[in-house]
């Protein structure tokens, strides 16, 4: 009888515990990261009585955590992938909507500006129309600046998010180290500390959202966590930190640095996946190229427009001054340089100009230029002097100072251009709509020859505005300013002091044609028409791409990348959902299951309780029998 009582007592205890485990499962049905637990029953060894063995009841040998490490790893990997594309997609969407929006994009600004140029070409003497063009010019400069500012804000946002992510990673890695410590201490008893393991898995999952990590469980139950190219973030109860620092060239360009025991290591491109991977990828794959392309457009527009404005005459009778100002390529010196080399860079050829970043490196004897986005080594022509600068990819580079071997300089050719545009023309009179010179046939001419409108083929000629007379000595020979005897061929260009004209028809001896400075020609729009032509002229990529087309290319490029990121995010979401489903289906609580267990254990408990009753009846029967 005592063994009957004992046996039922073990059952009551075991079922109570099992009910406790079930109620814990029910209570945690909605706890994220909670793995359901199952009480494992085993029999207690009985005691021998004679040659018989009678069972000793039941016991709960362990409370098992239902967790599949394989599924955990899958979930971790897909979480990392999803976080990467989710971050990318959020940021890419901002640029995407920014560029094509008629209110913020460049297209409407460019169009209104060139429409104003045409309006002025229709009535070049009109001061109000000139004023309107200046207004549009300001508007266009503002558009460029505003777009660049938005890019700048995105850049700061990337920096900020990187900093937050690094803080998060540091917090999570020290939390993991802490949990590792407690697990090592409690595992000594042989029973797994289920809740601590859950806690650690939750922390690793949160870490995976920030950056791609790999993990390994050690013999003492602690988990080692590695990032990047194998840098250890957590070993046992020891956590290593990350920090952020400026890049080699630019203190405002933030990169992640690993603060290991042996010192700091920049992790630049080693970090993939997670929010950090997404941020770094967004910066190098979308933000930088977009800014460079916008800068390329800005530089091409400003340079060509200025050149044409310089080739015209304004209402004051002066050759046109620059219409817009734009900064030359930015030069950034590496923090590691030991020499004092200096560099001046300028755009030499728009047709070859890319807007990309380049690194100029001095190896002690010669310079080499490397394009940063594709790593291409750009062959340089020239000697690097002011008179004969190095030229590569449309950039003229003049070097000076005393560089040391291994010194590096970053040349940002397009990135900062768009933000630096300024409208230089303040006075309506200063817009150069007229050609600098004009031609005329003398009204005393006898022949029927006509002269074409004067075109400024070389507006930089110092004698451009000097008057000239073409006089025919006989029908086939002419002199210029009374000197020389040049053979006349109908329709051939005649170039005098930077002005080109052609004469057609049959001149007679004594016929005169004049070229004069175009003073007072308030109604002349010849240069205005040429200014307007810049909108559709091929300037970039060897003269194949106009500024409009280059901007269209940027919009399509950003749209295409965003589209592709969106598709990847969609795919990654499915992968993540499947991994989550697999994980949940194995580890999460099913309430119906727990309800069934509740009934099962309750009934079992009631049954063993009945056994106590039976023991009692047996005992009573025994007492009654002996007391008689």
């Amino acid at each position: 009888m005592p063994d009957l009582l004992n046996t039922s007592l073990t059952g009551m205890l075991a079922f109570q515990r099992a009910l406790a485990v079930t109620s814990n499962n029910i209570a945690n049905a909605n706890t994220p990261g909670y793995s359901r637990q199952v009480a494992e029953f085993t029999t207690r060894l009985g005691s021998g009585s004679g040659n018989l063995y009678v069972g000793g009841g039941t016991q709960i040998s362990t409370i098992k955590r239902i967790y599949d490490a394989m599924l955990g790893e899958q979930l971790q990997a897909s979480t990392t992938g999803h976080a990467r594309f989710s971050t990318l997609s959020t940021l890419a969407g901002r640029i995407d909507t920014l560029l094509a929006d008629p209110d913020t994009g460049l297209n409407t600004g460019l169009q209104s500006f060139f429409n104003a140029v045409q309006d002025l070409a229709n009535d070049p003497a009109s001061i109000p129309t000139r004023q309107a063009l200046l207004g549009e010019a300001n508007g266009l400069a503002n558009r460029f600046q505003a777009l660049d500012r938005r890019f700048d804000e995105l850049d700061s946002e990337v920096n900020q998010r990187l900093s937050l992510a690094v803080d998060d990673i540091n917090r999570l890695s020290s939390a993991i180290a802490d949990v590792n410590d407690r697990i090592a201490a409690t595992s000594a008893g042989g029973q797994a500390p289920n809740d601590l393991l859950d806690e650690r898995d939750r922390l690793v999952m949160a870490l995976s959202e920030q950056v791609s990590v790999s993990t390994a469980i050690q013999d003492d139950g602690t988990m080692s966590v590695f990032i990047g190219s194998g840098q250890s973030l957590v070993i046992g109860k020891q956590a290593q930190g990350l920090s952020i620092a400026g890049s080699e060239f630019d203190p405002t360009r933030v990169n992640v640095v690993y603060e290991g025991a042996a010192g700091s290591t920049p992790l630049d491109n080693a970090l993939t996946g997670g929010a950090i991977g997404g941020l770094l990828e967004f910066r190098s794959r979308m933000l930088d190229p977009a800014r460079q392309s916008l800068g390329q457009t800005a530089a091409a527009f400003v340079q060509s427009f200025n050149l044409q404005q310089n080739a015209g005459m304004d209402l004051r009778g002066n050759l046109g001054g620059d219409f817009f100002a734009i900064d030359p390529p930015t030069i950034l010196t590496s923090g590691n340089n030991s020499g004092s080399g200096t560099v001046v860079a300028a755009i030499a050829d728009l047709g070859a100009f890319s807007g990309a970043d380049y690194v100029l490196e001095f190896d002690g004897a010669a310079y080499s230029l490397t394009r940063q986005d594709n790593g291409a080594v750009i062959p340089l022509s020239g000697a690097g002097t002011a008179a004969d600068p190095f030229v590569g990819d449309g950039i003229a580079i003049e070097v000076g100072g005393a560089p040391a071997a291994g010194d590096r300089l970053l040349i940002r050719t397009g990135q900062d251009a768009a933000g630096s545009i300024q409208n230089l023309i303040r006075e309506p009179l200063d817009i150069a709509m007229a050609a600098p010179t004009r031609s005329a046939a003398s009204l005393a001419n006898t022949g029927n020859a006509t002269i074409s409108a004067a075109s400024a083929s070389d507006p930089t000629d110092p004698a451009l505005l000097t008057s000239a007379v073409i006089e025919f000595i006989d029908p086939t020979t002419y002199s210029i300013n009374g000197a020389g005897a040049f053979a006349y061929t109908e329709g051939d260009p005649i170039i005098i002091n930077g002005t080109t004209v052609t004469i057609n028809g049959s001149p007679f001896a004594g016929d005169q044609f004049t070229i004069d400075a175009n003073f007072g020609a308030s109604g002349d729009n010849s240069n205005g028409l040429l200014l307007n032509g810049i909108q559709t002229t091929g300037l970039l990529d060897g003269g194949a791409i106009s500024i409009n087309e280059n901007y269209g290319r940027l919009v399509a490029g950003v749209g295409g990348t965003t589209h592709q990121i969106q598709s990847s995010l969609d795919a990654q979401s499915v992968v993540l959902r499947n991994a989550e489903d697999a994980m949940l289906s194995n580890s999460a609580v099913n309430l119906d299951e727990e309800a069934a267990k509740l009934i099962q254990y309750q009934q079992a408990y009631q049954a063993v309780a009945q056994v106590v009753g039976v023991a009692n009846v047996l005992f009573d029967a025994l007492l009654n029998a002996t007391s008689r």
Binding site: Q111, A121, N122, R577, L584
Partner: protein, 397 residues
């Protein structure tokens, strides 16, 4: 497969969220009428749409430019119409003055009217456009094109012509310089003039002149000199004899590919100069004409002088009328070109607009049926969520 309670929630929830997101996209498409909401929806179409919209904006600007050119040309055409009327009236007056029935007094009156017309013509040449800028001074829009200093008339503008962009690669002049309209007019018959010397004593009158063979005409200056009233000789600019002949009134004097008729009786040593036509502006022509008419006729020789002057002027006026007509024809054809270009711009705009609509506009029928399908799906997802969440063993405990 084992299903956890939380994943039934999450599955239902994420399904609903997904459906809501597509529903929201469709709903925004319908409310904006656009298929492409952001470039990433269809990057190629989005960048093409940018190009199309830019083309449409450019074409719109071309139409605006064309309107301005049309307006300028219409103003020019109206002024040239008036110029033509004035010239026609001056021509009539010249013919009247040439009539032998006119007395010195009536010719005086004709001259007065003629000078009025000269004034009028100068005002027309110095006409300003709607913006207060001179129409006929070329590009020197602030300079009065025609001014008078005593007997000479000067053109102060330049010979430039402003081009207006009315289409892609299509430019058209919106005016003509006063030099072309009023000054660059060949005197005489356009090739040469035959002018009696002022000292002529006879009554020789130059009549019709023409170029018979342009390939022989060498643009030299010739003198037809009467040796005596019945014989003349032709000398070239070097004084060499070209030809010599007997003369009778009404003879055609012909040499070097040209000829002109001469009537009346020139005196001995009378000379007629044959020179290549110089440019003579219309104002000088009328001024000279009026001056010639004003001269009182006191004898046959002065009548002959007047007749010669009037004849020469009539030729010049005809040249001027021809020049104005020429310019008016150009203006008319420019207006026609503009109209054609505006039509073709409009047709192009329409085509581009249609293409643009095809690229970025929403197919409403498709979108609305998609919307109703998505609504149905969402409703189904919501219902099934509620139904499955109601199932629990605990309900029966």
């Amino acid at each position: 497969m084992r299903v956890s309670t939380i994943s039934t929630y999450l599955t239902g929830l994420s399904a609903m969220q997904r459906l809501q997101s597509t529903l929201d996209h469709t709903q925004r498409q319908i409310s904006t009428g656009r298929r492409i909401l952001v470039p990433s929806d269809d990057p190629i179409a989005a960048s093409r749409a940018l190009e199309f919209r830019e083309s449409i904006a450019r074409l719109k600007q071309f139409d605006r430019n064309a309107g301005i050119a049309q307006n300028q040309l219409a103003q020019e055409e109206s002024v040239l119409g008036s110029v033509n009327n004035v010239l026609q009236r001056v021509r009539e007056l010249a013919l009247q003055a040439n009539n032998a029935t006119q007395s010195n007094e009536t010719r005086e009156l004709i001259a007065i009217e003629m000078r009025e017309h000269l004034e009028n013509l100068m005002q027309l040449a110095n006409q300003k456009d709607g913006n207060g800028r001179y129409l006929f001074s070329g590009n020197l829009e602030d300079v009065e094109p025609v001014s008078r200093m005593g007997m000479t008339f000067a053109y102060n503008g330049d010979q430039g012509q402003r081009l207006i962009q009315i289409g892609e690669g299509r430019q058209i002049a919106d005016g003509d310089s006063g030099a072309d309209i009023f000054f660059r007019i060949r005197a005489g018959n356009g090739v040469f003039t035959a002018t009696p010397a002022a000292s002529n004593a006879g009554t020789g009158i130059v009549g019709q002149s023409s170029v018979v063979d342009p390939s022989v005409w060498d643009q030299d200056t010739y003198t037809v000199r009467f040796i005596d009233p019945a014989n003349y000789e032709v000398l070239d600019s070097g004084g060499a004899l070209v030809t010599a002949s007997a003369y009778q009134s009404g003879d055609r004097i012909a040499f070097r590919g040209i000829e002109f008729s001469l009537t009346g009786q020139p005196g001995a040593a009378d000379e007629f100069a044959v020179t290549p036509s110089p440019y003579q502006d219309i104002f000088t022509t009328i001024d000279k004409l009026a001056t010639a008419i004003e001269q009182p006729i006191i004898g046959d020789d002065s009548r002959a002088a007047m007749t010669n002057a009037v004849n020469a002027s009539l030729q010049n006026i005809d040249q001027a009328i021809g020049a104005v007509l020429n310019i008016r024809t150009k203006v008319g054809s420019r207006l026609a070109v503009i109209e054609n270009q505006v039509d073709s711009n409009a047709a192009l705009t329409l085509t581009i607009q249609e293409t643009l609509a095809g690229v970025e506009d929403l197919d409403y029928a498709e979108a609305l049926s998609r919307l109703s399908l998505e609504v149905t799906l969402l409703e189904a997802a919501q219902q099934s969520f509620v139904r499955t969440q109601q199932l629990s063993l605990f309900n029966f405990l």
